[in-house]
Symmetry: C2
Subunit: 389 residues, 2 copies
Amino acid sequence: MAMPKASQPFPRSEYLRRLTAVKSEMKRREIEVLVVTTPANITYLSGYTSKSGYAPQGLIVSLADEEPTFITRRMDGPAAIHQMFIDRGNVISYPEALIANSERDGYDAIIEFIFDVGLGHKGIGIEAKFLPASTVEKFKSCAAQARIVDCTDAVSWIRGLKSDLEIALMREAAAISDAGMLKANDVIRADVREPDAAAEIIATLVHGANGKPGTDVASFYLCATPRISTCHIRWTEDVFQKGSQINLELSGVRHGYTSPLMRTFSLGKPSDHIRRLHEGEVAGLEAALAAAKTGTTCSDVAVAFNTTLKKHGFEKTSRCGYAVGIDWTEPTASLKEGDVTVLKPNMTFHLMLGNWIDEDVGYVISETFRVTDAGGEPFTKLPRELFVI
Amino acid sequence: MAMPKASQPFPRSEYLRRLTAVKSEMKRREIEVLVVTTPANITYLSGYTSKSGYAPQGLIVSLADEEPTFITRRMDGPAAIHQMFIDRGNVISYPEALIANSERDGYDAIIEFIFDVGLGHKGIGIEAKFLPASTVEKFKSCAAQARIVDCTDAVSWIRGLKSDLEIALMREAAAISDAGMLKANDVIRADVREPDAAAEIIATLVHGANGKPGTDVASFYLCATPRISTCHIRWTEDVFQKGSQINLELSGVRHGYTSPLMRTFSLGKPSDHIRRLHEGEVAGLEAALAAAKTGTTCSDVAVAFNTTLKKHGFEKTSRCGYAVGIDWTEPTASLKEGDVTVLKPNMTFHLMLGNWIDEDVGYVISETFRVTDAGGEPFTKLPRELFVI
């Protein structure tokens, strides 16, 4: 029996719209074929979320074809047939013998395909920054008659601008993020082990919200006293203590789309210092959202935040956010001073106001929002509180 | 207040032993300094498990110094001070301004450090395969007087051979994997949504076993009818049906160390075909474990499995396993015909017998084991059953 198609998170017309935008960029860059290897970009152009990206794979977008072709290892072919909107004939599997093979790998299969369809001497775009140096070299030497063009981030910039259908999925992910934070507020207690709280919160993120389950487990960071100046520790084996502070960062996931959220919890009364930092950050957050209107720049948003925070006597040295969507961070626009990216409606950002000031001072709050003509519109509904338990 | 040190999963002597092995390999390759950038290798040499690897970072091992130096972005410095066994003076943070900066990034900070300590004209090893091509170029051009040597997998091969202390952690991870599978056996039922089962199983992996919590969430794949020929789908929004088959792959994690495990579940009586495949795979598994003695090769183990499975009328085209440890797969030895890696005591493998035969036939079973003089010794205690629910 042949593998059936999964129900798609988007209609075919949505994928074709995205591909039209990519092909238009390909024409601008004077390339005939684009080899998309970044998992998030493959998800964007096909609906595929299976986690096969640790082995060579490529979605080949050609100006000559309406649908792209996916080249993947044999064992991942059925998942591609199942999940991708494309015809099953456009999923090509290479043999398992190319795995853990020092002579030839899946990129050779991709290059051979490009030659087979007669494009081996054309302009070929690759996402060079996310490929091993030896693979870039392979493209250059195997396709010596071709013009190899570095198209790193070309698709990422296009997916920075969300459709209403994508915004709807990000709202679903945000509702799951909210549910995760509310669960945290229920389970973080003195004498509870960090992993036991984490287990319940993560389970909530998978169960989902409003009948929409989480479709993946995104990054999850629970940094509690004495680690409140850290930001990327999962959790430890410690037990929460009375007086502990807990900084939490998490996200629900819907078909690849994330809506990250950060909040700070305090077991007992927080110090005046943290309370003042919280007030400054919330004021900064509101100023940043107000500034995030169509036509302003990423830099303007950062300035609005930084200026407001400074008025409250604090400073944040790291950027105050980044473009967000499939698989969390997009490697494109940053909410930082000097980033002159102009904001357009339905660009989405994680306004990430984690502020790790000193080795014993750290505080986190964030919102994921979309740009509108009236300013940044957050996806989550959680109060902007320092949660005191 | 300064960041305190976390309790270490290993004594200092264990890290120094590992570093001695790395330095000895460095001498063999005639390099004075090694820039370790792969997260799993950094964990191995320092105890660091914080998830900062998406930004440039490097653990600098120098023949001249007992301890390595870690160079990381400002916001990740405190986690390194907390988790790494090294002196806090050996953690160097680069400014946040190097993040999302197209002119200069953290690798420039690493290269500058190497010059600052007077090693800029020496033999410098890098893990080139896992670095962007532009970064390899940067090393070559900035350190033009140095000899840049590709040391990809040098540390990975060293960590392939586990100490008894590491084996103990992998056994703890395996006990968690067992607990996860037993939970699966409890919660997989007809009319239950896949994510609701996944949530409970993942929560179990985080709660842990025998008082030892999971320290991270590893990859998790639940591929149920009609997707039993897929292997890397997390789960879907479907509800389990009477007659469904469920292929599960998961792992507990202890301080980075994994012990992956796969089992197949059937809601009701499995078909004779799947039952026969199960019997062939279990026979092959036992043959592979018996073959995995000190002094034989990876290829011998694969031949033992493949020959046995063939006697049962089946074939598996993908490799039957790979070296395993920190962060799951090690990019070194494979249990496949032709891999002549000689087995040594305390090498560890995931004997991964997932077999996706046709678009509607797939079956999974696996064991994580260590090599001993008497054969492969599995870490988990779970029966080698096709679990019928």
